[in-house]
């Protein structure tokens, strides 16, 4: 059986900061959400560059 790409055989890593406590996996997903959201706003859409202007 192929082993998992990531070794999950350990307790969850968490980010602690004062009252804030969250698993690293969830923090990574939330950061990714922000990155993809900003990228979707800033990266030009292909057809818009091909003369789709009004």
């Amino acid at each position: 059986m192929i082993a998992s790409v990531f070794n999950l055989n350990h307790p969850t890593h968490t980010v602690h900061w004062h009252f804030f406590s969250m698993s690293v996996a969830n923090v990574v997903v939330i950061i990714l959400l922000f990155v993809v959201f900003v990228a979707a706003l800033l990266i030009p859409f292909p057809s818009a560059r091909q003369g789709g202007s009004q």
Binding site: V29, L32, L33, V36, F37, A39, A40, L41, I43, F45, S47, A48, G52, S53, Q54
Partner: protein, 222 residues
């Protein structure tokens, strides 16, 4: 030779449906030029994820937990189901953020916004009931933790996380049916009202009028 009866309920429903959503609006082949942005892609990505969720979930329901836990093909479909759910929530959150900052309820689109937001809210218990339907230690852990939250909220008596049969029924029938029905309503309302236009830099009476009107479709975007 057929006889048309304008008073029949079928004729009335048809006229009302075609009036609200004529074929060229229901299956439009042109979109306003402002739709040419990546932020408008996340709605259809959510829809694509939902189709994969329903497809992989249907196969899991047909084969059962012995198959999805102990065969390699079962593992594949189990993983496909999980990751399509992860992507569904990822895409729907970005779609929701985008539409929130566009104030997508403008121009008589309140029902479009409401059906989308309620879809997101209904999808959360749909995913939760899936996690507790896995038939493994993960499911046991999640159900014993989540039951306290449900009891604290006062709904534990009729939404019992420890009742596998109830959770499984919610997960494979009631909640997916609600999500799919809401998504169909949402898409039909988007087709009826058109995609919300972006904010103008400077609000004028003309731009306010444009926001409330059906968006222009002469600009081709394929």
């Amino acid at each position: 030779m057929s006889v048309s009866n304008e008073t029949s309920w079928t004729a009335k429903v048809r006229e009302r449906a075609v009036g609200a959503l004529p074929p060229e609006k229901l299956l439009a082949d042109k979109q306003p030029v402002y739709v040419a942005s990546w932020i408008y892609v996340f709605g259809v990505l959510s829809l694509a994820s939902l189709i994969v969720i329903i497809g992989s979930g249907s196969i899991l329901a047909l084969k059962g937990p012995g198959w999805w836990h102990f065969t390699s093909v079962g593992h594949f479909f189990n993983s496909t189901h999980l990751w399509s759910v992860e992507l569904f929530f990822f895409f729907i959150v970005i779609h929701l953020w985008g539409k929130y900052w566009m104030a997508a309820w403008r121009g008589g689109r309140a029902r479009v916004w409401i059906t989308g937001a309620v879809t997101f809210l209904v999808a959360i218990p749909c995913a939760l009931t899936g996690y507790v339907s896995q038939q493994n230690f993960d499911a046991q852990w999640i159900s014993t933790q989540a039951k306290d939250a449900m009891n604290a909220a006062g709904i534990g008596a009729f939404f019992n996380l420890l009742n596998f049969g109830q959770m499984y029924s919610y997960h494979i029938l009631l909640l997916p049916a609600a999500v799919v029905a809401l998504v169909i309503a949402h898409v039909l309302l988007v087709r009826k009202h058109g995609v919300v236009p972006p904010f103008e830099v400077r609000q004028t009476s003309e731009t306010v009028e444009a926001e409330t009107a059906t968006p222009p479709v002469e600009e081709v975007h394929s």
